[in-house]
Symmetry: C2
Amino acid sequence: MRAPRIDNLQYANWSEKIFRQMRDGGVDAVHVTIAYHENFRETVLNFEQWNRWFEQFPDLIMKGLTAEDVTRAQETNRTAIFFGFQNPSPIEDDIGLVEIVHTLGARFMQLTYNNQSLLATGCYEAEDTGITRMGRQVIKEMNRVGLVVDMSHSGDRSTIEAAEISDRPIAITHANPAVWQAALRNKSDKVIRAVTERGGMLGFSLYPHHLKAGSECTLESFCEMIAQSAEKFGVETLGLGSDLCQDQPDSVVEWMRVGRWSKEMDYGEGSAAAPGFPPMPSWFQDNRDFGNIESGLRAVGFSQTETADLMGGNWHRFYAANFGPVSEDRAG
Amino acid sequence: MRAPRIDNLQYANWSEKIFRQMRDGGVDAVHVTIAYHENFRETVLNFEQWNRWFEQFPDLIMKGLTAEDVTRAQETNRTAIFFGFQNPSPIEDDIGLVEIVHTLGARFMQLTYNNQSLLATGCYEAEDTGITRMGRQVIKEMNRVGLVVDMSHSGDRSTIEAAEISDRPIAITHANPAVWQAALRNKSDKVIRAVTERGGMLGFSLYPHHLKAGSECTLESFCEMIAQSAEKFGVETLGLGSDLCQDQPDSVVEWMRVGRWSKEMDYGEGSAAAPGFPPMPSWFQDNRDFGNIESGLRAVGFSQTETADLMGGNWHRFYAANFGPVSEDRAG
């Protein structure tokens, strides 16, 4: 079986059209965001909505819980959908919910979304005080059950501390190196190294605010950035996390940025002049365009094996090691 | 492997002591009630509490999801714990929660607890109007995911209609024939037949209010009643559902009976003079006494095979057929 093609972050306005595009693009697994600011009960409604889609489109998509499910999706020509949260709001202030959401299917959880949370500091706060008392307990519990710590929207200190505190590898599912594009959401080499040197992963983002030259970023520039990252951090620590937000209305970007925490607008990576979703680069419009990235990686000199690892093989191995209790890993 | 010993209903004040008594009594699986009047969020807290017990006592108990888990419990000298609700309050008015609670581990759900619910009529209402509009939809969804309809506390018409509407066998997990003891919670032959002639099961209760002569009921009388039931309904349709409420304070029987639906006391099967839990029969005090029932069944003439079926083999086959999606049954 060929290495699977995995996109480790999307938050589209899901529809049969997009599920068919996943199939057309040969995407075997996608990690989808199902909570930004939702509390536990609201997040359960989102699990319910996905249950309905699994029931409605059994020939296109299936629920993904383990690395084996990616293989099963490949064998049955479907896309395995893995769930994640971009904020710890679904677990509220209740550590017992960590195992509950894992049982329901969550496999990644960000400790923060831009702001200070109960667990850590977000990347937009003026001061980063690191992992909180509850954060230490929750990381331990996430390690126990096999829910991956994701620090994509966290501050530098919090991210480095999370990598150090966690007994298992953590992830930055969707961001790029700040040396390539100095966005607040992109990560310094020091932060990326803290994650990757402990077996963690970085997923490269295609969200224009994270790209050099934004929507005008070239495929070559993006792939050259990956080549430089592979030299620094090792090709085995890298994958994709496109951050594709296809077909979303602007009201959704407002929900992502402001949730219910403010009565005032916050433009996040945008601005008052450009508040909505920026246009995607011409060479990555939707799930059908992963072939362009694969060709681009070959063009900058990655071997066929390295390219397959970057397109999904690395995430697949990461899933196999980190989505279950530690004891099962040892037995398996 | 010998047939497992299964008690298909308990609601004790759980403790290490009781878990050890389960092991001493050779009990391989227990269906435990985790909700009477709890809403969804409160029920999740009860799942969480059990997760803590599974973590604390891994050598005594394990979470049960499938019939194979009973065998795994036998092989590892533990008791598999299966979850159920005595009321549909955990799914609130949201049919999507049926699959969610099944994913979390629920395997039985009563459509009513004494009172009218959103789904059906309870056995204490003056008039039984049968399965409601939502009830029909929920039964279909329970059939789809493999959550067993339990009608122990429902009215006769609702129970017969549920048996007819359900595409899969249903259960009366804990009650006795009314011809033996005319309690409101015990069931007429007509009701028992409607359930058992469609592959459903009856679990015999040891709750004194359901027993002839109450706490003074003899083992012989109890086992003779089982023998008569086997002649009428077939030995393969019968098992145990002891309704053991060990170590519970009287406040819990009040919660069971009144929940939050009334400001006035309701004595249920008790009375103002005897409001609490009645004493259990001398020959069934707790989980260590299942051997007495096994001996009693042999003494009234059941063969060794029939006795093993009554003590758990029948429930085990029922679990295997009814705890997963229909498609898996067909594949399995």
